[in-house]
């Protein structure tokens, strides 16, 4: 065989492999199996409200300026700037035209747990469905029932339009193939029920990893650096290391964490700031047992050095105050 023919064979072989990968990815079952939603109990909107606060929906979807405590109006419109472009948060109020009032539970569950719109289009993973894919379907059903009780809004935020190549939403299929894995992130040899509950809340609805875990160049979470801190997606500031490392929050006790979630004060009485303010105010709505579970999980995960440089959240390492 001549060198040229060999090269031709290799190229053809590579093209076939590439085509096979693309076919495999594109033919993936992008939607949830209907079995997942069959056999759920009747949706409980009251419990759905708890799921709502645990999931922090209001932080992105609520009308800016409407503080927790009021009934949130999920009118969307917030613009999330990132290295990939600007994501515009949609209206998820129960308005039948401008919101999600006409959606079925299957529509909603596929959006939340698989990042697929009712029309079969991919959502960008700025919508944290990689985390939400780990949610219990019953929680998603309860959440949906709660959202239906909120005020409708006729707001029509503009469509997200990113620059090429991110404008190709089919490309998100490939991204999902790489990064949408509903399994747990941390594997414990043995974990108490409270740690497991915390794991569910943090890795699933709470979607803590979306900000606190660093991402690679195409926006995939680097799970080996789970919760060890990251630059914020808009490039301004960082989400701190929340692992039990000394450069993280290793010197916070579990009750101190619970107190932080409830009051917004750190153990050295600095106040919560930045994007975490809304997260904390959402968490403050949760039952104390859930906050204790989150704290127990954050004490149990592997301690890792900070991924986003020097951290100022450890009392032992930094100056006091925050001028």
């Amino acid at each position: 065989m001549s060198g040229r023919r060999l090269r031709g064979f290799l190229l053809a072989g590579a093209a076939i492999v590439a085509a096979a990968v693309v076919l495999f990815v594109l033919s993936m079952p992008a939607r949830l199996s209907p079995k997942v939603l069959a056999g759920l109990s009747r949706a409980d909107a009251a419990h759905g409200e708890e799921v709502f606060w645990a999931s922090g929906c209001a932080a992105c979807h609520a009308q800016p300026g409407v503080k927790s405590g009021d009934r949130p109006v999920l009118s969307g419109g917030l613009e999330l700037k990132s290295g990939f472009g600007t994501f515009v948060v949609p209206n998820i109020s129960p308005d039948p035209v401008h919101g999600i009032g006409k959606w079925t539970l299957a529509d909603f569950a596929n959006a939340v747990m698989r990042g697929v719109s009712p029309g079969g289009r991919n959502y960008y993973p700025a919508f944290p469905y990689t985390s939400f894919s780990r949610m219990h379907p019953q929680d998603v059903a309860d959440l949906f029932a709660y959202l239906k009780t909120l005020p409708p809004s006729a707001n029509d935020p503009r469509e997200t339009s990113l620059a090429f190549p991110y404008s190709i939403r089919r490309g998100v299929d490939l991204w999902k193939w790489l990064y949408l894995h509903p399994g747990t992130v941390v594997s414990f040899n043995s974990a108490s029920d409270i740690v497991r509950r915390g794991q569910y809340l943090v890795e699933g609805p709470g979607h803590c990893g979306e900000c606190h875990t660093p991402r690679n160049a195409i926006g995939g979470q680097v799970l080996s650096k789970w919760l060890s801190g990251a630059r914020m997606p808009d490039g301004k500031g960082k989400a701190p290391n929340i692992t039990p490392h000394r450069s993280g929050i290793g010197d916070w006790t579990a009750p101190e964490m619970v107190s932080f979630f409830q009051t917004g004060f750190t153990p050295d009485f600095d106040s919560v700031g930045g994007a975490m303010v809304e997260v904390q105010e959402n968490l403050a709505h949760l039952p104390k047992s859930d906050l204790e579970a989150i704290a127990a999980y954050l004490k149990a995960i592997p301690p890792l050095p900070s991924s986003a440089g020097k951290d100022s959240h450890s009392r032992s390492e930094d100056e006091e105050g925050a001028g």
Partner: protein
């Protein structure tokens, strides 16, 4: 003698003014540390970890009041860069917004102090009511105008 003392006092004042001018970051950090310590004591009072006494509460409110009245003076143009400060560039991008939020902090701190009267809030419930808006101000300012670098 009186003149001499006046002169000495003025000299001390101008020295501290000069050092504040040359290192506003250090001064505002000291003010924030004082706020943090005051908040810490306030929370301990609320949790019952320190026994409530109107005099303690008054000291907390007086300290926060001084901090509120002064903090806004220590963010001059050009003092927002470098790793040693967590001040967000938004302070200088939106000076009117920042001034407004500082003014609210001053108003709430002043109101809390006034509500406590000369001897401080009579009981824990009164103290809680007085200080809660001030706690809200910590968060709402840090939400927008502080950057975790």
């Amino acid at each position: 003698m009186k003149t001499l003392m006046m002169a000495a006092a003025l000299a001390i004042l101008s020295v501290s003014a000069a050092s504040a001018q040359s290192d506003p970051v250090a001064v505002r950090k000291a003010i924030m540390a004082s706020n943090g310590a005051s908040a810490g004591l306030a929370v301990k009072l609320m949790k019952g970890e320190v026994r409530y006494d109107p005099a303690i509460a008054k000291a907390v409110l007086e300290a926060i009041n001084v901090n509120a009245l002064t903090i806004g003076n220590y963010f001059p143009e050009g003092s927002g860069s470098g790793r040693e400060t967590e001040a967000s560039p938004k302070i200088w991008e939106d000076p009117a917004g920042f001034a407004k939020i500082v003014a609210k902090f001053q108003a709430d701190a002043g109101e809390a102090l006034k509500a406590g009267g000369k001897r401080g809030p009579a009981d824990l419930a009164a103290f809680k009511t007085a200080i809660e808006p001030v706690f809200g101000d910590c968060k709402s300012c840090h939400q927008v105008y502080r950057l975790d670098r």
